[in-house]
């Protein structure tokens, strides 16, 4: 289907891709893996016409192929679901799906909105999201539904090659199944998929072959029978990783001291929810995407005011009324909607990292020295292995996973006591994920408390002292740390 020949791409001094060769066959589902910043998104977006290579060429279905933009690529049969792209606010679902293609529906200069809506409805129906209405204003949809609209947008031109750049981590159960079904269908229709993900188990179960990138170089391509999680992991990182990934202990103990308490909290779907977070506890919160767990995170940090009940910091009996109170009392919050809520894209890594720590960095006369800022930033870049030129690089230029690391670094630098983490490891590669888990374990040992909201069941099972499972805004089950918890068991509670 597609032959990639000697593609190279550099951003200033950063060499993102170096002489990449690759061949994707018809009907093949190709996985593309690599550490954060290894060049996966760059390669994908060059194939999809969103960026240009410095050198090299493509052949598509036997003919030379050099897309000038994404629409051009789509017309050749190549579509991409972009990592963290999002939808256009203020317009309808249908208008989002057909942005850039409206001219195809015009006659005598006038646009046929009816036809567009009809076509959008068909498309959504086809991918199994018939419940999303094309005329709805996109702002009315939740995060996952908007992501599904993006999938529909990629399917508009009926692609022969679909590129999926880390879409699954933004999706919960329903969206994932929808995407898997779609990929299977494409496979059956003898079309190809290039699938980028950091979830090695997921990759194993859906891909036929897997290409590994490291620092812009293709390291290896594994055929079906060669694929194993350990193999992928070591190829990506370039060294053997020790077996344990999550915490190895099954101790699950924590202090009796309650540090944060939510009492009868109601907000959105969440109804009269109670929660006690202890000193030195990692409290996992899981469920389907609309079960109320993301709302819970927001309420705990004071972003949303609860309709009933309250959130209290036990130590000095302060009510968490707004994020200001929360940060003042050493709380931290990592939002799921990274690019919208958690990071300032136009600012440098340093500016992002030091943002919540200004009070701590203050020296004589309340001034902050540049040196202390730089030191803090460099320490974080090192701990989390943020791939960048230096702390002054603008976050917009970072790869997806490295942006997420900046968000994490921001709060780590502040030495927070209570961390509310909503999908903290989203889009982060295995190596750094392991480092983050280790960090969390260390934080726990230091007596810090963590609420970890997650859609990744292995992570919940692997890291939590206690897991709260939510369904329709209510507590469905509470599980204690144990080696016996299985994903199956959890799914039974939350579905």
């Amino acid at each position: 289907m597609l032959t990639v020949k000697k593609i190279s791409k550099a951003f200033g001094p950063t060499r993102a891709l170096i002489d990449v060769d690759m061949e994707i066959r018809r009907g093949e589902i190709r996985g593309l893996i690599g550490e954060n910043g290894s060049g996966k998104s760059t390669l994908a977006s060059i194939i999809a016409g969103a960026q240009f290579a410095d050198s090299g060429s493509f052949e598509l279905k036997g003919k030379p192929y050099a897309p000038r933009n994404m629409v051009g690529a789509q017309n050749h049969g190549v579509s991409m679901i972009i990592q963290e792209m999002g939808t256009i606010p203020g317009i309808t679902v249908a208008a989002n799906i057909f942005t850039g293609r409206l001219e195809e529906f015009t006659r005598f200069g006038f646009i046929n909105m009816k036809a567009i809506n009809r076509r959008a409805a068909e498309l959504l129906q086809e991918i199994g999201a018939g419940d999303i209405h094309p005329e709805t204003l996109i702002n009315r949809l939740n995060f996952e539904e908007r992501k599904i609209v993006e999938i529909a947008r990629a399917m508009v031109a009926n692609p022969d090659l679909l590129i999926v750049d880390e879409t699954t981590t933004a999706l919960a159960q329903r969206g994932r199944e929808l995407l898997y079904r779609l990929i299977r269908r494409l496979h059956e229709e003898n079309k190809s998929v290039l699938f980028i993900s950091h979830d090695l188990h997921e990759l194993m179960s859906i891909c036929d072959t897997i290409t590994v990138l490291r620092d812009g170089i293709v390291i290896d391509t594994l055929e079906k029978e060669e694929i194993s999680v350990d193999r992928m992991r070591s190829l990506m990182v370039g060294r053997e990783l020790s077996g344990s990934y999550f915490r190895s202990d099954y101790d699950g103990s924590y202090s009796d001291e309650v540090v944060l308490e939510a009492k009868r909290v109601t907000s959105g779907i969440l109804e009269e929810f109670n929660l006690e977070l202890h000193k030195g506890e990692i409290l996992g919160v899981g469920g389907l995407s609309d079960c109320g767990m993301h709302e819970l995170g927001r309420v705990l940090f004071g972003i949303d005011k609860p309709i009933t009940g309250s959130v209290t910091l036990k130590k000095n009996n302060v009510q968490v009324k707004d994020p200001h109170v929360a940060t003042k009392n050493n709380m931290a919050y990592v939002s799921k909607e990274r690019d919208r809520e958690a990071i300032i894209l136009n600012a440098s890594i340093k500016e992002n990292v030091v943002l919540p720590s200004h009070r701590q960095l203050r020296k004589v006369l309340g001034l902050i020295t540049r040196r202390s800022e730089t030191n803090l930033t460099n320490k974080q870049i090192e701990t989390l292995r943020i791939k960048c030129r230096n702390g002054k690089q603008i976050c917009n230029e970072l790869s997806g996973g490295n942006k997420q690391k900046v968000v994490f670094a921001k709060w780590l630098g502040k030495e927070s006591d209570i961390l509310i983490l909503d999908c903290p490891t989203r889009g982060i590669d295995v190596g750094v994920k392991a480092a983050m888990y280790k960090l969390m374990t260390e934080l726990k040992a230091q007596g810090k408390s963590i609420v970890m909201i997650s859609e990744e069941l292995p992570e919940l099972i692997g890291m939590s002292d206690r897991i709260l499972l939510l369904k329709n805004g209510r507590l469905q089950a509470e599980l204690r740390r144990s080696p016996d918890i299985s994903e199956k068991q959890i799914i039974q509670y939350i579905i």
Binding site: I88, A95, R101, L102, E103, M113, R153
Partner: protein, 328 residues
């Protein structure tokens, strides 16, 4: 179907409530004087030009760009157009054509510079307004006077016919062309719209050029209403776009209940009715400005927080219900 009809009716009432309130208020304050048929007609007639100018502004505002030069374009098209009309002896038809051409040429230039200079639109247009004001001062320092014979377009019913034509034009442009939809997509998110293949600079350029059509017609109405116009300097033309600007703000608010085109008409008309009402009360110009400003502020405040107020009330209700359940 009944539901749809009901919602439609409610939305219509919500759309019209503002102008009705404003008119009613002044009717009370003036002891019914402002309610006379003649006075209402005057207000309607006077709102035509600002409405058409608001149609010129709204496209750029959708993209978050302020065109401060619009007033300068209207004034210079009117002065140059009026003089050229006399010179070429082409009558009212000539006036319309010349004003349209000047309007489109000037806004096309604005759009071009805006795309090329890569400085914020507000900087570009503030610079340009000074230039656009100066051009007629250089060529026709005495301004322009046209004879009553050629000013009939500003009178009823002609001004309303013009409004109707521009209304239909704007409606089709905004709702029924790919351009209108692309504009809104671009206004929603430049980055995503671009990656979907929309050419931002082309859409911006088109938007500016089209705004020239509205400003050209605005110029015709401006000279026709006044008969005589003097040149201005130092941003003296900016007040021309105050009312339309406020009209656009109101329209963005009203567009929740009705189509944006209708919202523009209703919104700008409301602003004109307010100004006229204040004149009828005999308020001096400064007081009128203050009152209009306050009116807009209060209104936008209420509208901006309306959703929150509604949510707050619903939340209270839910809290009470939960509390009641909890206590039993």
């Amino acid at each position: 179907m009944g539901d749809k009809l009901k919602r439609y009716a409610i939305n219509t009432i919500k759309t019209l409530i503002l102008p009705v309130l404003v008119i009613a208020l002044f009717a009370v304050l003036t002891g019914g004087r402002s309610l006379s048929k003649r006075m209402l007609l005057v207000t309607a007639r006077q709102s035509v030009m600002p409405i058409i100018i608001s149609m010129a502004l709204v496209g750029n505002l959708t993209l978050g760009m302020w065109d401060f030069s619009a007033g300068g374009v209207v004034l210079s098209a009117a002065i140059i157009g009026g003089n050229l009309m006399k010179l070429t002896n082409t009558g009212t038809a000539g006036l319309v054509v010349i004003c349209l051409v000047i309007g489109v040429v000037m806004t096309t230039l604005t759009g071009f510079l805006n795309n090329r200079l890569r400085v914020p639109t507000i900087v570009v247009t503030v610079g340009l307004v000074l230039i656009y004001e100066t051009i007629p001062r250089l060529i026709y320092p005495g301004g322009v006077t046209i004879t009553a014979k050629y000013t009939f377009l500003a009178s009823s019913p002609y001004c309303f016919i013009i409004l109707a034509v521009m209304f239909v034009f704007f409606y089709l442009l905004y709702n029924k062309t790919a351009y209108g939809h692309n504009l809104r997509a671009l206004g929603g998110s430049r980055e995503i719209a671009r990656s979907a293949g929309l050419k931002a600079s082309r859409i911006i350029q088109t938007g500016f050029s089209i705004s020239g059509i509205f400003l050209g017609i605005g110029a015709v109405l401006h000279i026709s209403t006044n008969g005589q116009l003097l040149t201005v300097s130092a941003l003296g033309s900016v007040p021309l776009i105050f009312e339309p600007m406020m009209g656009v703000f109101l329209a963005f608010f009203l567009s929740r209940f009705c189509n944006l085109t209708i919202a523009l008409v209703v919104g700008t008309f409301t602003m004109t009715a307010l100004t006229n009402g204040l004149v009828a009360l005999g308020l001096p110009a400064t007081m009128r400005s203050i009152t209009s400003g306050l009116f807009l502020l209060i209104l936008l405040c209420i509208s901006g927080n309306q959703a929150r107020i509604i949510k707050w009330r619903e939340d209270r209700k839910r809290a009470r219900m939960l509390d009641a359940k909890h206590n039993t």
